[in-house]
């Protein structure tokens, strides 16, 4: 039985008459221990899709299941990592993580919980910063806290909603590698949402494009058969990577192209040329009234005897 399953789910927002359908006929099944990445354009419904699994959004039709049970509300068996970290600003790193651990593992002794928190802080390499407040941390470090907090709950599935989109390219690359490493050691099931095709292929076992049809549908899954750990430099020379990358990007671009509304508008470029503003005070405007025109270039001065 798959760990997570979505069967024929659709979702729209807005009152009748002014309704926007966002997702249509979504079918997804994720096995335990799988690393699945869903790639799609901004605004195409990726977050709605992950919220169906987290239980923050209920589907209009169809259903979302975890271990065969219907998902009705959020729960600690599904850990969420958001793009904006969502840390409590008045708690330090340790306290932020302890908050989740104390809630989920109520029957543990305080020592057990403390050791558990320390273990996950070490996992994301933040031990020296354990007593810092979120505002004292960089964006990359904050996102690590968020990842540690979520993993510390030992969820059955880790849901990541564009976890790295707010970070700069270098930090993003570093965290991609770190999260892939952590996954390799833990084998928690991961569903990761992104708009970066390279990121998707680099970290995933299975990449699923979310096609920007309106409403959006899921495309054919692509299996990434590249050994781990993956080296981000070497992978650029890997033929399987090149092939998947071409396939993924063209699938997404093709789908976008099909949704484009073809309307023809009549527009004309006016036949005027820019003036040379560095010579405004010279005599260049003396002999003409209108602007310079492209068609002027084809005219000739012919001297005619009077």
């Amino acid at each position: 039985m798959p760990l997570i399953e979505i069967k024929g789910a659709s979702k729209g927002f807005g009152p009748p008459g002014n309704r926007t359908e966002v997702l249509k006929n979504i079918n997804l099944s994720v096995e335990e221990g799988e690393f699945v990445v869903i790639v799609g354009y901004s605004g195409s419904g990726k977050s709605t899709l992950i919220n169906l699994i987290s239980g923050l959004v209920k589907p209009d039709t169809g259903e979302a299941l975890i271990e065969g049970k219907k998902i009705t509300e959020p729960g600690p068996d599904r850990g969420l990592v958001f793009q904006n970290y969502s840390l409590l600003p008045w708690l330090n790193v340790e306290e932020n993580i302890a908050l989740a651990v104390d809630e989920v593992f109520k029957d543990w002794t305080p020592e057990q919980r403390k050791a558990h928190v320390a273990k996950y802080i070490a996992m994301v390499k933040l031990t020296p910063a354990a007593h810092k407040l979120p505002k004292e941390l960089s964006g990359g470090m904050r996102q690590r806290v968020s990842v540690a907090r979520t993993l510390a709950m030992q969820p059955k599935v880790l849901l990541m909603d564009e976890p790295l989109s707010a970070l700069d390219a270098l930090t993003r690359a570093q965290l991609q590698d770190e999260i892939a490493d952590i996954w390799l050691n833990n084998k928690t099931t991961v569903i990761w949402i992104t708009n970066d095709p390279d990121e998707a292929i680099l970290v995933a076992d299975k990449v699923i494009p979310l096609l920007p049809t309106s409403p959006a549908t899921l495309g054919e899954p692509m299996i990434v058969n590249i050994e781990r750990p993956r080296d981000r430099k070497a992978i650029n020379h890997d033929d399987r990577f090149k092939k998947l990358r071409t396939q993924l990007i063209t699938t997404l671009l093709d789908a976008k192209g099909r949704t484009k509304v073809k309307a023809s508008v009549k527009i004309a470029l006016p036949d005027i040329l820019p003036e040379d503003l560095s010579y405004v005070n010279s005599l260049q405007f003396m002999n003409r009234t209108g602007p310079k025109r492209r068609s002027d270039k084809n005219r000739e001065d012919v001297e005619v005897a009077a």
């Binding site: 090149k242 071409t246 063209t250 004309a268 470029l269 006016p270 005027i272 820019p274």
Partner: protein, 292 residues
């Protein structure tokens, strides 16, 4: 302008800043010639001095040494003959997209009628796909749409040169692909000589005729030059399926990963690639060997 002269000629450009520890050289001996209608890309690591070169061409930063000749004339200071698109579009928030474009249009076409000036702004805004949204304020537009306005604004002035400073750096990869198509569509209609700064290898290959690779800063110089042989108009799908695409990509990636620290001027064993040798020959500039 006669056809055989380059549109832009950068001749031994240096950029040096005075610091308490003595002068710091950011860009060293930078040579480049751009033909009229050429699209060239500067690629390199962050902080290597790509933007410094671009800002010198824009006239926003002084040259410490060297000459810059634009369309046959020594250029100094910024002007509407060079259109710039920055990483963030820098629109005036209290004006609509249309008014933002009209701001520059009113300046450079002041001899034209009001109707023609309006038509100019409408034409370019329509082509970048903002036909229905041109009377919205920047606050109502997405990041990608704002950058479309920025691109339309630059093209509407019909500048001699277009300078693009990581114009798509703030956008996510899929939106970036869309805007690259928009840029090429405009460029297909009006082939303005363009110099673009980027650190995205795919963007450089898809858009440009030539990719100029810069070595790591400080004292950045031209490390290598690569010609992109694809025909125009370009189709991303065809290019990605072309076997040459990944060869070019590997060339650029291996430069950035492994070779960007090599300084040709100090490396006696350095052999310029054929494309770079051609560029150096065009300057009638002997290759700077370590002995020189």
């Amino acid at each position: 302008m006669s056809a055989h002269l380059p549109m832009l000629e950068l001749d031994r450009l240096w950029k040096t800043y005075d610091t308490p520890k003595g002068p710091a050289t950011i860009v060293k001996n930078f040579n480049l010639k751009l033909k009229e209608g050429e699209f060239a890309t500067l690629i390199g690591h962050s902080g290597c001095g790509k933007s410094t070169v671009l800002m010198m061409v824009a006239g926003l930063s002084d040259l410490s040494q060297g000459n810059m000749i634009l369309a046959g004339r020594e250029a100094s200071g910024p002007g509407p003959d060079r259109g710039i698109v920055f990483q963030s579009p820098c629109l005036l928030p209290w004006m609509t997209a249309f008014e933002n474009v009209m701001l520059g249009v009113n300046q450079v076409y002041f001899t034209a009628s009001k109707a023609e000036r309006r038509q100019m702004a409408e034409y370019y805004l329509t082509i970048v796909g903002l036909g229905d949204a041109m009377h919205k304020h920047p606050g109502e537009l997405s990041q990608g749409m704002r950058q479309r306005v920025g691109i339309a604004r630059a093209f509407a002035l019909q500048p001699k040169m277009l300078l693009l400073d990581e114009p798509f750096g703030m956008l996510d990869s899929l939106t970036r692909y869309e805007l690259q198509e928009v840029l090429l569509e405009l460029w297909r209609r009006n082939r303005i000589t363009t110099l673009m700064v980027t650190h995205d290898v795919d963007e450089a290959i898809f858009l440009s005729d030539r990719v100029v690779m810069m070595t790591d800063g400080p004292e950045a110089e031209v490390g290598d030059i690569l010609k992109i042989p694809f025909e125009r108009p370009r189709n991303r799908k065809q290019i990605m399926e072309d076997p040459r695409y990944y060869e070019l990509r590997e060339h650029l990636i291996s430069f950035l990963n492994d070779k960007s620290h090599i300084r040709p001027s100090r490396e006696p064993a350095f052999k310029p690639s054929p494309d770079m040798a051609a560029e150096l020959a065009a300057h009638a500039f002997p290759f700077p060997t370590a002995a020189a």
